[in-house]
């Protein structure tokens, strides 16, 4: 019996161990407990404890699964409970973190409910506090909750706290923007309030009135700043803002006052910036400035851009717009000296300073053209000042083309020039002066800088609807002529189109006619002379003049000779062209010389051909009829050479005499007064005496 009992225990323990090893702790524990009732042993108790612990862990894992399911269903309370129970067993960090999160969320949810209730009850401060809690429960980053909190704070009159929150929010909706602006206004930040409200497109009279109230408060605030001589930057910025914003914000009187505030703040702030050498900031203010550009502001621009150009050549261009008008302004010159006599000396000094500055940047692309442009402007403004400085009116028109264009006053300057044509020495000076102030002016600067291609842009760039006047017409004629000449010198053989307006230009500008003829006469590339010839021929046809005719004649002769020298024409063609040249200008000495050389060349060639063919009659006639002694000299040279050859031969005396007699006979038909003829005659006479004797 005892053996059977032991057997039973062994089988129970065996089953228990099997369940234990299979991980079935529930059945294993049951078997172990049955065994322990029959046999009290320490190892069985340990196994029971182990199974109990394993069962607890399994149970906790099940709870985690349940918690996750509950979370998915949105049942945060049940999820929290399951996680809490599970973690009592598992004690894992991630479960603890989840538990904390659920607690915050549940608190936040509660807080939002409380906040809404407080809001509904009109307790906005409490609502704000609840929203703060709810927001904290969500990590403090919930923009909708922050916005609600800030708006509740505004409602509760806690403006500073509200503003601190609004500052951090994007504020895409009107409600938030309105409250933000409202809070700012309540804090005295009127300017910021208006800026926040700026984009609120709400058609509501009460809101419009509130904006007007805030604008007026801002005006009053700026006046206070001005009285305290404090914060000029704000006076300038806020007044500028008020001026450029909605007209309806201010009455006309208030607007005028703001204009004064703006001008005051701007000038005072500029002085502060000047002391601090903040020239860039000043230039920004001046660039965006509203109101008239007074001489004082022109001078300020001049010196600010001068200062900036000292370090940066890119600033030269703008500096040059203002520099000369500033120093030629009579009201600025008054500050130079009490003595008008000294004004000009100071101006010269300032001009020299500007030129030195330009030269400092000479090796940059900014400085390259600046000196030429400055020189042009200097001449223009000196001329303008010369006929305006004695006038009471229009002295503010003493300006360069650049500034006139900048101010939109080019037409006024042009009218002034038109009304004072008699002041100029001649029509060309008058037109060229005026042309700089037209839309074509910039192209003239390029022309003077030898930027021919850029200058020629005028011929195509001008707007078709631009009203043409005599100044623009002149500029176009001048640029067309200069560009054509440039292309001509650079080998373009099709330039006639650029000279179509040149005949009219020469009527105005005789100096340009001289320029063309001198260029033509000095041109050495013989192969391109034809192009010059074509241009001169065209101009001569359209507008005959002595200068062009003589130049054309000479170019024709030179080209003909050059072609002949290069074997590109025969003497006959040469003679034909040169004769035409001579017809144009009978005084063309070169043509005359060429003709002489050519005829001599012709006659000699024919005479020697006749000699060669023993046609002495023909040779003698050529020599006799020639206008040139050179031909006859060659003829008698041939006679002398022939005589010497006859004498050197061993022929019979009678034969020699007969031949010498022939020579003598032909020679006398050409001329007897030649040394060789004397020799022949003497020889013949001597031989005749011998025959007779």
């Amino acid at each position: 019996m005892k053996k059977k009992k032991e057997k039973n225990i062994e089988s129970i323990l065996a089953r228990a161990e099997k369940f234990f090893l299979d991980g079935n702790f529930s059945l294993a524990m049951k078997e172990f407990e049955t065994a322990q009732k029959k046999l009290t042993r320490g190892d069985i108790a340990a196994k029971i404890a182990c199974c109990r612990k394993a069962l607890k862990t399994d149970n906790a894992k099940q709870l985690v699964k349940k918690a996750r399911k509950a979370e998915k269903k949105g049942d945060l309370g049940r999820a929290l409970k399951c996680f809490q129970q599970a973690n009592a067993v598992l004690n894992e960090a991630w479960i603890a973190q989840r538990i904390e999160n659920f607690k915050w969320q549940l608190t936040g949810r509660d807080a939002v409910s409380l906040a809404k209730a407080a809001e509904a009850a009109g307790d906005l401060l409490r609502a704000a506090t609840c929203y703060a809690k709810a927001c904290d429960a969500r990590g403090g980053t919930s923009e909708p909750l922050l916005l609600k909190r800030a708006r509740c704070l505004v409602g509760a009159g806690r403006y500073a706290e509200a503003v601190d929150i609004f500052k951090t929010l994007p504020l895409t909706k009107a409600g938030g923007r309105y409250d933000y602006g409202f809070a700012l206004a309540q804090m005295g930040c009127f300017s910021q309030c208006l800026r926040v409200w700026e984009d609120l497109e709400v058609n509501d009279d009460r809101f419009a009135e509130q904006k007007r109230v805030v604008a007026r408060r801002l005006g009053a605030h700026l006046v206070d700043c001005l009285k305290r001589k404090d914060d000029y930057a704000s006076i300038y910025r806020d007044a500028f803002y008020l001026l450029k914003t909605d007209d309806a914000l201010l009455t006309p009187d208030q607007r005028r006052s703001v204009e004064n505030l703006y001008a005051y703040g701007r000038s005072a702030w500029i002085e502060e910036l000047w002391e601090a050498e903040e020239f860039e900031a000043i230039s920004d203010i001046l660039t965006t400035a509203t109101g008239p550009l007074t001489p004082a502001l022109v001078a300020l621009n001049a010196k600010v851009w001068f200062k900036m150009a000292e370090d940066d050549g890119r600033r030269l261009h703008t500096m040059l717009i203002y520099w000369l008008p500033a120093i030629y302004s009579p009201s600025i010159a008054e500050s130079f000296s009490g003595s008008i006599g000294e004004w000009q000396k100071v101006r010269q000094k300032l001009i020299a300073m500007a030129e030195n500055l330009i030269k400092k940047h000479d090796d940059t692309r900014y400085g390259g053209r600046a000196l030429t442009n400055f020189t042009i402007d200097k001449e223009l403004i000196q001329t303008l000042a010369a006929f305006l400085e004695n006038q009471e009116k229009d002295v503010d028109l003493i300006c360069t083309p650049g500034l006139a264009a900048h101010l939109g006053r080019s037409d006024e300057v042009l009218s002034l020039i038109s009304a004072n044509e008699a002041f100029f020495e001649n029509k060309q000076q008058y037109l060229e002066f005026g042309a700089h102030y037209t839309a074509a002016g910039n192209y003239l600067y390029r022309l003077k800088n030898n930027a021919y291609e850029e200058a020629a842009g005028l011929l195509t760039d001008l707007q078709p609807d631009l009203e043409r006047d005599e100044f623009i017409d002149y500029a176009m004629q001048l640029i067309s002529f200069e560009y054509g000449l440039h292309r001509l010198e650079n080998g373009d053989t099709q330039t006639i189109r650029y000279f179509q307006s040149t005949p009219a230009l020469f009527d105005i500008a005789p100096a340009l006619e001289r320029k063309l003829t001198q260029k033509a006469l000095a041109f050495e590339a013989w192969d391109l002379l034809k192009s010059f010839e074509d241009v001169l021929f065209y101009i001569h046809n359209e507008r005959p003049s002595k200068a062009v005719r003589k130049a054309l004649s000479l170019v024709m002769a030179r080209r003909a000779v050059a072609m002949s020298n290069n074997g590109q024409s025969n003497p006959k063609a040469l003679k034909g062209i040169v004769n035409k040249a001579l017809k144009l200008d009978p005084e063309n000495e070169m043509a005359t010389g060429v003709i002489q050389d050519t005829v001599v060349h012709f006659e000699m060639k024919a005479m020697y051909t006749a000699f060669k063919r023993q046609k002495m009659g023909k040779a003698s006639r050529i020599a006799r009829e020639s206008e040139y002694d050179e031909v006859r000299d060659h003829y008698f040279g041939f006679i002398e050479e022939s005589f010497d050859q006859i004498m050197a031969n061993d022929w019979e005396r009678e034969e020699k005499l007969m031949m010498i007699n022939d020579l003598y006979k032909w020679g006398t038909t050409v001329g007897a007064l030649q040394p060789i003829m004397d020799r022949l005659e003497i020889h013949l006479n001597m031989n005749q005496s011998m025959v007779n004797g």
Binding site: L226, S267, A299, I332, V346
Partner: protein, 93 residues
């Protein structure tokens, strides 16, 4: 160089003040003797001085003289608590 800055003087400096400023600047030793001499020479010459004054000095006080009396906003001072919060935006948060 800016002679006004070197000698630390205003645009309307007198000849006597220029000389005093040079003496003071020599004691301070912030600029070399050569720079001080050059600055003095420029400012004592009426032509050079006027040119330098134009370039280095800015005085816009004349612009402000006529602008100091601004009365249009006299009645708009005090607290702004009378500005009441409008409810038209309440539904638009």
């Amino acid at each position: 160089m800016n002679p006004y800055k070197i000698l630390n003087v205003d645009a309307d400096v007198t000849q006597k003040e220029i000389i005093q400023a040079v003496t003071r600047a020599m004691r301070e030793k912030r600029y070399s003797g050569r720079e001080l001499a050059q600055a003095q020479k420029i400012l004592l010459d009426p032509i050079s001085g006027a040119a330098q004054r134009f370039l280095h000095c800015v005085d816009l006080s004349r612009i402000r003289q006529s602008l100091e009396r601004i009365e249009a906003f006299e009645s708009n001072r005090g607290p702004i608590s009378d500005l009441t919060r409008l409810s038209i935006f309440d539904e638009d948060a």
